[in-house]
């Protein structure tokens, strides 16, 4: 396993200072439950994990980050809000890049707020702290990239699409391939759907009636149902699938609007203006999301991030799937986009998935000291 060199203690102290202020210092077990992490982040993450297992024991993995264990600690404490700072090694396999460290130090901050707290101030605070910590490493080629997964959803909502299509697009937001496939289909004729007749028969029935009918179909076809999905669920999806297939695809104009939205990458002020200028950019959700961004930018500047150091990209996302709102990365020009110095974002949905209360607020960031350090990663 490839480890990275140590960052000089005084540099590390400078890096740590903005993140550790007023925060409770926490640690996390190096061994994390594999099943839980895969459940949260998806199977694609498995290739990046170091999996370990004692004889006869359950599978564990070396912690790939601190966000999940820190969130769990926060939930166990029962507190409504909390602010936690951590520092330690994380482990991620990098088989395709033999020159990259697989064992590296992370310093980070996670902030949890009670239900109903405004997100904007916390968003700006955490992104600004990540920026300050990264800059403390001495590099002069850093830029703060901003993105927002909620903005895409709001933009899609404004297009007034059929429900199933809007849902499919929102789902595809973090999956470029699906998104491209959907865009490529734009303007196509609705399909003639196989099995449409059965769906039509089921469509007018109550859920129970539809389930009984589907069971009869199974019996006639000699199908022995296996697996966890029941007849009612399958009947409903059959109806939805037929409806979705008959519903119009994206019009060419809508696809063009989406493409234009997705290609935006500029200074935040210009990016927001570019979004507003797209035909079809309308709706309350989008108006609100854009107004929020105006405010976030004011707060970010007030918190000390130079306006000239900020960029905004509508497609900025992360391989890890926790994030569901603001996302940001501090990138060094020398290291490039795939080796960010710091990353972070909002993950309000994660506590609920860890069986915490729904509606709480969570935002955090992580800095890689060796990448931030001027004399470090090259």
């Amino acid at each position: 396993m490839r480890a990275e060199p140590r960052v000089p203690a005084e540099v590390l102290a400078n890096l740590r200072a903005p993140l550790s202020r007023d925060a409770l210092s926490v640690d996390a077990p190096i061994l994390q439950p594999l099943g839980l992490l895969l459940e949260l982040a998806g199977e694609a993450m498995r290739a990046r994990l170091f999996v370990v297992q004692a004889e006869g024991g359950r599978e564990a993995c070396l912690r790939p980050d601190f966000t999940v264990p820190v969130t769990r600690q926060h939930l166990e404490s029962g507190a409504a809000s909390g602010r936690y700072y951590y520092e330690g090694k994380a482990f991620r396999a990098s088989p395709d890049h033999p020159d990259r460290a697989e064992e590296f130090v992370q310093i980070g901050l996670e902030r949890f707020d009670a239900i109903g707290t405004s997100a904007l101030e916390a968003d700006a605070e955490i992104a600004a702290l990540a920026w300050k910590a990264a800059v403390a490493g001495g590099r002069e080629d850093l830029l703060l990239w901003l993105g927002d997964l909620g903005l895409f959803a709001a933009f899609v909502e404004g297009l007034n699409l059929p429900t199933s299509l809007a849902a499919r697009l929102t789902r595809a937001a973090s999956r470029p391939r699906l998104l491209q496939a959907e865009l490529a289909r734009a303007g196509a004729q609705a399909k003639v759907v196989e099995g449409g007749a059965l769906a039509d028969l089921l469509a007018g029935r109550s859920s129970d009636e539809a389930a009984v009918m589907l069971e009869e179909v199974w019996a006639l076809a000699g199908i022995e149902p296996v697996g966890g999905r029941g007849p009612a669920e399958i009947a409903q999806r059959l109806i939805r699938r037929t409806e979705a297939a008959r519903a119009p695809t994206l019009s060419l104009e809508q696809a063009a609007s989406l493409r234009r939205f997705l290609s935006i990458s500029d200074t935040p002020v210009k990016a927001l203006a570019a979004i507003r200028a797209i035909p079809g950019a309308k709706g309350e959700a989008l108006t609100a999301a854009l107004a929020d961004w105006e405010q976030r930018l004011v707060l970010l500047t007030k918190a000390g991030v130079p306006a000239g150091a900020m960029l905004m990209a509508t497609t900025l996302g992360h391989a890890f799937e926790y994030y569901d709102g603001l996302t940001f990365e501090v990138r060094s020009t020398a290291l490039g986009a795939d080796r960010p110095v710091a990353v972070g974002g909002r993950y309000d949905g994660l506590p609920a998935r860890l069986e915490g209360p729904a509606g709480g607020r969570a935002v955090g960031c992580m800095v890689r000291p060796w990448r931030a350090f001027k004399g470090g990663e090259a």
Binding site: E43, A181, L198, L214, P231, L238
Partner: protein
Amino acid sequence: MNEPLIIAVPSKGRLKEQVEEWLADCGLKLSVSGGARGYMAEIKGLAGAQVRLLSAGDIAEALDSGEVHLGITGEDLLRERGGDLDSRALLLRALGFGRADLVVAVPKSWLDVDSMADLEEVAHDLLARTGRRMRVATKYLVQTRAFFARHGVADYRITESSGATEGAPAAGAAELIVDITTTGATLVANGLKILGDGIILKSQAQLAASLRASWSDGQLAVAEHLLRVIEARGTAHESATLVWPDSESDDALIGELVAAGATRRPNGVLAPADRIAAISTLLTAKGRGPVTASRPDFVFETSCVAHEVLVKRVKN
């Protein structure tokens, strides 16, 4: 020092029988030392080679690590070793047996799921409704992950299965499976169906060379001998010799046949086996004959493409 060329051959099952038949057909008889349960063997007529009998899975691993020079095993197993297969092994020849498909199979009762796109939607739906990910039983983790990622399916979990994968949905251990199938009969018997676009790999047995093994010139020479015999036999199976009286003076006609895929031979041409009737009819129609078609035992070409590629990859 003359280190032998090490060849790994399947040690059991149908694949072993098929490999033995194929080698014997090439005139290379496998003789196992130490009785039927022995794990060392030699190939008669191939001096300088040592044969190791291993399980198909171990052969893939041994090729990967460079413990053996050549090996015969399923492509599915080679690909399951992860990463970039081309940088570790060279597929020299598809052998036409040991055919099996790696497929995505779901319960037949899922009338609403026919494609990977359907699966993506159902998986997402399940996660959104229940907070649980759809479970996929398989022992092919690497290929499952790559294939699902290609189709944008993200909301699933792999449940590792070591045997009887096809029974997992019925047993409630998973919702669907990724597994090897030859005829699909086992899947059907377990109430499963293959998704229309759910074929991950059409696999067959491959003769493969390890690029991680150290190759001496002597070992390369033994490999060349083996490859030449195999190619000569393979070409022979696909060819027929057609001879007719006075063909030496038929330059124009032979030129026509060569343009159609035949090659010139003394007294006639060598043609693809499936063209025997067509070419013979053409000849007799032009008054040539009698045409005698016979099948050669071996056709040795002057060059051996597989060996040239191997040398190039090993030497760089």
